[in-house]
Symmetry: C2
Subunit: 429 residues, 2 copies
Amino acid sequence: MKKLNVEPLRGFRDIFFEEADIIDFVIKESERLARRWGFKKCFLPTLERFELFAMKSGVEIEKTMYVFKDKAGRTVALRPEATASVVRAYLRLLRAQPKPLKLFTIVNVFRYDEPQYARYREFYQADFEVFGSSDSYEDAELITMLHDFYDNLGLRHEIIVGSVKALRTILSEEGIDEKEQDVILHLIDKGKVDEALERLEKMARSPERAVETVKELVSIEGGEEVLEKGVEIMRQSGYGYSFEDLLQLTKYLPDDVKSVIRIKLAFARGLAYYTGLIYEVKVPGFPVSVAGGGRYDTLTKVYGWEYVPATGFAIGIDRTAMALSKMHGWRSERPTVVVIPLDEEARKEALAIARELASLDVDVILLTERKSIKKMLAYASEKKARVVIILGKKEISEGKVTIKNLDKHRQISCPRKSLLDCLADALKT
Amino acid sequence: MKKLNVEPLRGFRDIFFEEADIIDFVIKESERLARRWGFKKCFLPTLERFELFAMKSGVEIEKTMYVFKDKAGRTVALRPEATASVVRAYLRLLRAQPKPLKLFTIVNVFRYDEPQYARYREFYQADFEVFGSSDSYEDAELITMLHDFYDNLGLRHEIIVGSVKALRTILSEEGIDEKEQDVILHLIDKGKVDEALERLEKMARSPERAVETVKELVSIEGGEEVLEKGVEIMRQSGYGYSFEDLLQLTKYLPDDVKSVIRIKLAFARGLAYYTGLIYEVKVPGFPVSVAGGGRYDTLTKVYGWEYVPATGFAIGIDRTAMALSKMHGWRSERPTVVVIPLDEEARKEALAIARELASLDVDVILLTERKSIKKMLAYASEKKARVVIILGKKEISEGKVTIKNLDKHRQISCPRKSLLDCLADALKT
């Protein structure tokens, strides 16, 4: 008989044990962040109409979407990101909600990309969105949240901040249409500045001024102080933008958050729907950004609905987990207790004990398979149990249990009634 | 401009606020159950090769799968359930792990079914699987876990238990092939007993005996005591099965768990891979089962690999959440604090306060949009905040904050330094 091919599809993953525990930990921390800052959890469809994403996700995402026809002939797509779905649901159900409306969702997203380090075809994001707030004060809150999140994880990080308004204003005033703007921003995002400048030179009304200004902006990054330079460059070149949004933001940012901010005067990101402030979190030594976000004030209008200012970010769960395990390891703190029934007669009582411990929130593994005591103890060690509870005929008849501390190779006999006290003792380090 | 259609695809859902909170709560409780009983969390692909599910998922699931070709021409499917993926990953990576191996995953699954009450095209499951345990003792553990899970949720429930061996043995000994067995079991599962008996009569070697026996088994259900009747029926009709697995199970089950067990002598469930014990959790007054599981000892062999005894269950997250909100309502316990900066000058300090509270695990909503004080307080009420913290120019210059308890319409002025104590006071009920 032919063996089933047990490999997952290319770019997909089977995630177990420590790798799964770290991802789970990052998810839990994201949920805590959301709860603490008043973001309400929601669940949205994994599958959407293709047009939802086709309208404004950007050059890169469109190429890499999982698109297919369902049984009724609808063209559908596995979501490549969460924001479009949150906006759709907002327009459908939440327009009358008090503003600002803060929403949060954990999603699996899909991109048919060439798999490589930290890039998978299915990955996880924690997505935070705020509707009905046009103010940079909201962005200051979001960036503060991101900083605190990575700080709590103990990950050194830098938050790269910019505004797409800098480049968009120049390109618009040079008479370049939006589609071509997207291409030029995409090139700058990918570090292909020369190529971007070449295109710009060909298409701009005043090519020299445009190329000079963009070149200068691209070359400047640093702390808060670079904003003055940016204002000066824009004033001299005469374009109608002077970093108002970034100046406003830095006014509200707490000092410790400011200290991890790196401002890039000509910053661009992958998603085409951003309209103003954008940012990305980088962990030094980790090759790709671990989180990112920005303001997308016109997306509802692109969808043909009313204007709703909006802003948000997504935490890359997998990447954050990878950075965490790469940068400083990780281990679970909770001790495990293995319960071992030696004989048939002890099995019912062993289940009762496992159940009692579980109800007290102790992590317990009941040994449900018959094995030699040696093999059972080996199993407990492999499961990294600190303590095993052993009971056989003898223990049952005497109303006792045997408690063995595997770290200290110490074993005591304990009255069944005092189980919890004995266990607490045995678990003491 | 054409407005985007903001409806989700048919059978898919946008889940917000209380509905989302209940689902989230059920997920958290499932995770707690897994941790307490030593089930290790894993993450598996949402998309798999079609053949993985095509081999043994059963008549119903095959018809309703989301199948399509990816960009490389592979025939792929959105998972209709989790067990097949867990088994695949087990065969790929985990064969050398110490047994029993207990795994757990939370998944979104997809079925292109006709949407109806409590049936969606995307829904959520908490999936528990155990590999390498052939013993009914393991099944006793799983059923005990399920009982405790629903007990903790405060949901009255019944666990319907049976063994596919009863019907399978009769059908096999009557010379009926496996595919036709699947059809007959499917009919019995769907309550179409007459139709099943008709087919049986046509195909059985000894039609009268077969029909009589199945008819009798189908008519009997009840507590532990019905097993004796089952044993007697099988003895008299001469088929080679006498409910050994169920007798073994009841030997191990704790008494309180036994009291919610209802044994069905001729029980069948939707999935074709079950080989022995099967069970379903029903909540009285709720029309569909909320969880189900069973033993599938031969699935690895169906896949062309070695024999690995295995058993497990899935909790229907959505259905459990629906039952929970239908049976006894549900509400979140955590109080929310809204922080209101009245003037520009107060915004930086308001963010600092929000951050301080968040770091202490208080749920806080910072008001990031400028509004009149009246509107801001209305916002706080709509968000069901118990307390608001107000600060404006005056408070900043005096080093104070104003704390308003919305329940009690009481307002105090509090030194900034004593914020936490004042807040604790204000939150007291």
